[in-house]
C-alpha cells in the first residue's frame, strides 16, 4: 500500500468486541468510551506512529481495527 502516512484508523463496529487492547497499544490515537469501545482520533496517522498503528491493527483480537486511505 502506498501513501501510508496518509492512512487513518477506522473500526468495524460490528466486529469490535470492546476488548480495549487498541487503546493500550496506541493511546496517542485511541481512547475508550464509557462502554469500552474505541474512540479514534479523526486525523491521519502521523508518520512517527505509523509502525505502532500497524502493530495495533494486527494485534486487535477481533480484527476490527483498520487502516484506511482517505477516499
Amino acid at each position: 500500500m502506498s501513501g501510508r502516512q496518509e492512512a487513518k484508523l477506522a473500526v468495524n463496529p460490528i466486529a469490535c468486541s470492546g476488548h480495549g487492547v487498541c487503546a493500550e497499544l496506541l493511546p496517542e490515537l485511541i481512547t475508550l468510551d464509557e462502554w469500552g469501545y474505541p474512540l479514534l482520533a479523526d486525523i491521519p496517522v502521523p508518520a512517527h506512529l505509523a509502525r505502532q498503528a500497524r502493530r495495533t491493527v494486527t494485534d486487535c483480537p477481533a480484527l476490527a481495527l483498520l487502516l484506511t486511505k482517505p477516499t
Binding site: 468495524n12 463496529p13 460490528i14 466486529a15 469490535c16 468486541s17 470492546g18 468510551d33 464509557e34 462502554w35 469500552g36 469501545y37
Partner: protein
C-alpha cells in the same frame, strides 16, 4: 386525499376492472404546473387501483431503451433522487452499478419498516405496474440479470403480487422474472446492506461498509437498490422525459413525492405533493402568519415531525413558514426523508412522544455495534425519565448532560445510520421542546392527554 384505511385495504387478486381513470400522461397540463391533487403515482382520490389494463391504457408498454446505460442520462437530467429517505441521486447509483464488476441485481425496496410510513405499501397496492415497469427499466439500464421485489408479505399479498408478475410475463412486458422476497417487519429491514443480506439468504442485519451494495450486495454481486416509489418515478421519466418530470417541484428538487400525513386531529392519509409545497398546505398548522413566540396552544399542532423517526421535530411556527424541500428543511436540521409528516396535537407532551419513539428505536437497533447497543437504550431511558413528572416529580437536570454525551458517543459510530438518525430525532426534540423541558424540571407537564400519537408498531 385517500384515507389510510382505504389505502391499506387489500385489492382482490387480479385487481379491479373497468377503471375509469383518466389518462393523465404526457399531455397533461402542458407547459404549466400540475393542478392539485397531483396524481402521477397514486390514482386520483376516489378512483380505484390501476390494474394492468388501466395501466396500459394510461401509460402504454414498458419504454425499453434498447441497451444498458441509455436511460441514465434522462434520469440525471430529471434530477431524480431516492424516495426512501436519503434523497441520493438515482443516476449515480445506476452508473455505479453499471460500471461495477459482475452481473448486477436490481432490488425494488418496499420494506418500509417505519411504522409511521404507509406510502410504499399504498403505492404497490394502488399502482403496482408503475413499480414493476421501473424494475424492468432499472434492470435494463444497469444490465442486471436478476430482479427482486422486497416487501413485507403475507400469503394473500404474495399470491396477488405473483399473479401480477405472471400476468405481465404472459403479456410479454417483462424481460426479467421478478422474484418476491419477504422483508421482515423491522425498522431496519430496508437498510441497504440488511436488505442485501436478507435477499442473499441471511438475516436482515446491516453490514459494515465498504464494500457498498452497489459493488458487492446480493450474493456478492453489484446491486441496485431503489425504493419502490423511486422506481415508479423512473418509469414515468422513461416515458415522458425529464422536462415533464420537472413540471412539478422546484428547480433544485424537481418532481413529486408521496407523503404520509399524520394530522393533529388524528387522521392519517397520503398525498402526492410537489417538492416545494408549503408544509402548511399539507398539514393544518393554524394561522399562516403565526410568529415565533405565539402561544403554541393556540394552534392545532404543538410541533411538527418532519422526515419520520430519523427526522426532526420543528416548532409549528417554523414548519408553517417552510416548504417540502431539502433546501429549506436542511437549514432547520431536517430533511424530507421518506415523506412522513406529523403534526403533534396541541395538548400532547412532545417529550413523552419522543421518549416512546426513542424506546422503539432502541429496541429496533440491530444490536451489532457496541455504541448503538449501549447508547440507544440509555438515551431512551433518560428521555423516559425526563418525560415523567408524575406526582410533581422533578427529573434530574443532569439527564440533559447524559443525553448530550450519549448522543455524541453513538453518532457516526454504527455500521449503519440508525444511531445517527436516532440522535437527529432526539436532539431536535430537546431543541423544539425546550419550554416543555423547563416545565418538566419544575415538575409540571403541559400535556393534557397522555394518549400515544405516533405509531410504533407491535400494538404498543
Amino acid at each position: 386525499m385517500t384515507t389510510f384505511a382505504q389505502q391499506s385495504s387489500q385489492p382482490t387478486a387480479g385487481g379491479q376492472t373497468g377503471s375509469s381513470t383518466r389518462p393523465l400522461g404526457p399531455g397533461h397540463g402542458a407547459g404549466q404546473s400540475e393542478p392539485r391533487p397531483i396524481s402521477r403515482l397514486l390514482p386520483p382520490p376516489g378512483k380505484p387501483a390501476l390494474d394492468l389494463g388501466a395501466h396500459l391504457r394510461r401509460h402504454g408498454q414498458v419504454p425499453y431503451r434498447g441497451r444498458p446505460g441509455q436511460l441514465i442520462e434522462d434520469v440525471r437530467v430529471a434530477g431524480l433522487t431516492g424516495k426512501g429517505g436519503a434523497a441520493f441521486p438515482v443516476h449515480r447509483k445506476l452508473s455505479a452499478v453499471l460500471a461495477a464488476q459482475g452481473r448486477p441485481v436490481v432490488v425494488a425496496n418496499g420494506a418500509e419498516g417505519e411504522p409511521a410510513s404507509a406510502k410504499d405499501k399504498a403505492l404497490l397496492l394502488l399502482n403496482p405496474h408503475l413499480v414493476l415497469d421501473g424494475i424492468q427499466l432499472a434492470a435494463e439500464a444497469t444490465g442486471a440479470s436478476d430482479a427482486v421485489l422486497y416487501v413485507t408479505l403475507d400469503a394473500e399479498k404474495a399470491h396477488w403480487l405473483n399473479a401480477l408478475i405472471a400476468q405481465r410475463r404472459s403479456a410479454n412486458l417483462d424481460r426479467l422474472e421478478v422474484r418476491l422476497v419477504a422483508a421482515p417487519h423491522k425498522f431496519l429491514a430496508g437498510q441497504e446492506s440488511a436488505l442485501a443480506n436478507r435477499i442473499s439468504g441471511g438475516p436482515a442485519l446491516p453490514s459494515f461498509a465498504p464494500p457498498r451494495v452497489f459493488e458487492r450486495g446480493v450474493d456478492g454481486r453489484p446491486t441496485f437498490v431503489s425504493n419502490v416509489e423511486t422506481l415508479a418515478h423512473l418509469s414515468l421519466i422513461a416515458r415522458y422525459g425529464p422536462s415533464w418530470f420537472a413540471r412539478a417541484g422546484t428547480p433544485d428538487e424537481p418532481g413529486t413525492m408521496i407523503c404520509t400525513l399524520h394530522h393533529a386531529d388524528g387522521r392519517v392519509d397520503l398525498t402526492e405533493a410537489a417538492l416545494g409545497t408549503p408544509l402548511s398546505d399539507l398539514l393544518d398548522l393554524g394561522p399562516a402568519v403565526l410568529a415565533n413566540g405565539d402561544d403554541p396552544l393556540s394552534t392545532p399542532a404543538s410541533a411538527v415531525l418532519i422526515g419520520g423517526y430519523h427526522g426532526a421535530w420543528l416548532p409549528t411556527a417554523t414548519a408553517a413558514r417552510i416548504t417540502l424541500a431539502n433546501a429549506a428543511l436542511r437549514r432547520h436540521g431536517a430533511t424530507v426523508g421518506a415523506g412522513v409528516l406529523a403534526a403533534l396535537p396541541a395538548g400532547r407532551c412532545g417529550l413523552a412522544e419522543t421518549a416512546r419513539v426513542a424506546r422503539y428505536l432502541a429496541l429496533e437497533s440491530a444490536g451489532q455495534c457496541g455504541p448503538c447497543r449501549n447508547g440507544l437504550p440509555r438515551i431512551a431511558g433518560a428521555l423516559a425519565d425526563l418525560a415523567d413528572v408524575t406526582g410533581g416529580r422533578r427529573p434530574d437536570p443532569a439527564l440533559l448532560h447524559d443525553l448530550d454525551r450519549w448522543s455524541g458517543l453513538v453518532y457516526r459510530r454504527g455500521a449503519c445510520a440508525h444511531p445517527d438518525g436516532t440522535v437527529r430525532f432526539v436532539t431536535s426534540a430537546l431543541r423544539t421542546f425546550d419550554a416543555e423541558i423547563t416545565a418538566h424540571r419544575h415538575g409540571r407537564c403541559t400535556g393534557t392527554s397522555n394518549r400515544a400519537f405516533l405509531p410504533v408498531g407491535n400494538g404498543e
